[in-house]
Symmetry: C2
Subunit: 337 residues, 2 copies
DNA sequence: CGTTATATTGAAACATCTCAAGGAGGGTGG
DNA sequence: CCACCCTCCTTGAGATGTTTCAATATAACG
């Protein structure tokens, strides 16, 4: 579980926050002023920092300023605590690079939701931003850029893997079809993801198909280049190893789900997956075809719809047309059956 | 599909063989004598060679002798065609390094089964032998060797990934359990396979468990070493990239199967998977618990048993106790529902 | 504004799971 | 060497979850 540093001068508030976070299963570190906060942040590298603005010694702005210069903490999510929602305070904090803010007094769920969202978002971006760094320039040296619209097929099962693909913007689903023409979603790609590279590594044909879910800009990298770089450049090969590891772990999990979980639960998981990939901001709403949802959960469209109606009457989601709106994602995740 | 070189001086027989193989979907190359055969073998590097023994110019032994010296063909499966099953002929051929032999006259299924088996076996060994080469010595430099008996747990979900594992001999299954305690087989390992390295790469805890199916010798490599080597040594990292690619493709397929195939078909697939991993020699027979089969197919033990009884009454398999014997694997693979 | 694609619902057919009970084999200790 | 226990395998029958087919409603699009 994640570690959270709480920097707050008021003892009561500090203890209260730590207690709530502890109960929610986070590990907490506390600091009673800005100076100590900075020290502990650099030393212990927490996964997220909650920090009061008004403090003696060194105020919240100062803490943020320092931490955003240091290598160790520069990308740690930073949330301000402000006594009252003074617009100007908040604006200044956000301009300095804070990720979010919470106004005091707050209730438990405010705190937990905000913390949770930021942690999740950070993991995504962490996975994302890594890719457009350093030695990846080489990889993109011979890229060609293509634009696709929704429903365009990027490649099909059986096409020879001439390129690997980097999704710069948009949404893409990677699917695989069985002999009866039923389709399963193997992967959902968000901006910053690579896809179609497994087969390219083996110098084979694509074993799956890729289709755009909305207008997308995709970078094509010749497989040849990719293979060479992977062989030579250990930075790139280890990056891809990590990508594939992640992928494998996700697929393992998916196998387990498909083997033994009920459709109801699989649909819930599909919705949460969609949120994790594509949430821009809470509350999460999104346009997805029922077909996509069904093929993410490995079930028929009708069954998928039935489950959605159940969720709707349970007050977990709202639906209008193809737009789905997650009202209570937490409960969706805790679904017992 | 694979390419097969047929070396045979008798025109009728040669054409007959090629025709059968063509119909079965193989690409064929033919050669009317040993000399031409050698030339074509070196030039076109077929995936398998069928070769008559008695031929003018250069006989079958000669062909085998030459080809087993050449880099290009040294590991290509080589099957002799002998006019009558003269024991001595056959023995001499096998001593020279032939992989199998077919006695003329033969019927279609003889030919196809033998060819099929050899191709499959070769792929396995190819996948296996690769690993104990060259720079893998470094990987094994700090290994410790452990012996486990059947049903021993090697690691559990949640253990920290201190080592990666190489199965030197025996059989291991890697499984993952869901909250209800139901287990799915994620991977079956045969000698020469690595396992438990995904989590080690990420410096995380194991996300699955590994259990021996029979007495096994396992080499443990400290994760630390492994991670360092992967970073530095591009030969190793690219080898593992390939391993993971394969793994991903297999898992993709498994996801599709679990999503939409009937239990009947999934059980058939599980049996064939077992054969592909563990067949020592045809006909295939093996001891596997019903539980393992069930968790490979993602179903309950009872259902797995019911399917096995169906297969039994359809004459596809034979069962005594926990030993299963595949009588008609081809038909098992072509199972329509 | 019509036409097509997509979403929704119902009811029956079907596959699979669960629970329950019995059988076969293998090993252990008396 | 036999009786017993334990584990694993097998079968039955009812309950349940899921799919399918068919009909209708709604949304999307040019």
């Amino acid at each position: 579980m994640s570690t959270i540093l709480v920097i707050e001068d008021n003892l009561d508030i500090r203890e209260n926050i730590c207690e709530i976070l502890d109960l929610a299963g986070y590990t907490t570190i506390d600091a009673e002023n800005g100076k100590i906060g900075v020290e502990k942040a650099v030393e212990q590298q927490p996964d997220l920092i909650l920090c009061d603005i008004m403090m003696p010694e060194l105020d919240g702005y100062g803490v943020l300023h320092i931490l955003s210069k240091r290598e160790e903490t520069l990308s740690t999510p930073f949330i301000f605590l402000t006594a009252k929602a003074e617009k100007s305070d908040v604006r200044r904090g956000m301009n300095l690079g804070a990720d979010d803010y919470i106004t005091k007094p707050f209730d438990e769920s405010d705190l937990l939701t905000t913390v949770d969202n930021r942690l999740r978002k950070h993991q995504q971006i962490g996975g994302h931003r890594q890719t457009d760094h350093a030695s990846f320039e080489q990889l993109f040296a011979n890229k060609s850029i293509k634009h696709y619209s929704a429903k365009d097929i990027i490649f099909r099962d059986g096409d020879s893997a001439l390129n690997i693909y980097y999704l710069n913007s948009g949404k893409v689903k990677v699917t695989k079809m069985n002999n009866d023409g039923k389709e399963a979603v193997i992967d959902l790609c968000k901006p910053g993801d690579f896809f179609g590279y497994w087969s390219a590594l083996q110098n084979q044909e694509h074993s799956n198909s890729a289709e755009c879910l909305e207008n997308s800009e995709i970078w094509l990298i010749p497989s040849e280049n990719f293979r060479e770089l992977v062989m030579e450049n250990s930075e790139i090969s280890s990056k891809f190893l990590k990508l594939m590891t992640n992928n494998l772990l996700i697929k393992e999990h998916k196998i387990l789900d498909l083997a033994y979980e009920s459709v109801r639960k699989r649909i819930a998981t599909a919705l949460l997956d969609l949120r994790d990939k594509y949430s821009t901001d809470e509350p999460f709403r999104m346009k997805v075809s029922r077909e996509t949802i069904a093929s993410m959960a490995g079930t028929s469209i009708e069954t998928a719809i039935r489950m959605l109606s159940e969720f709707k009457s349970d007050g977990l989601i709202e639906v209008n047309g193809s737009e789905i709106h997650l009202i209570n994602p937490e409960k969706l995740g805790r679904m017992p059956y």
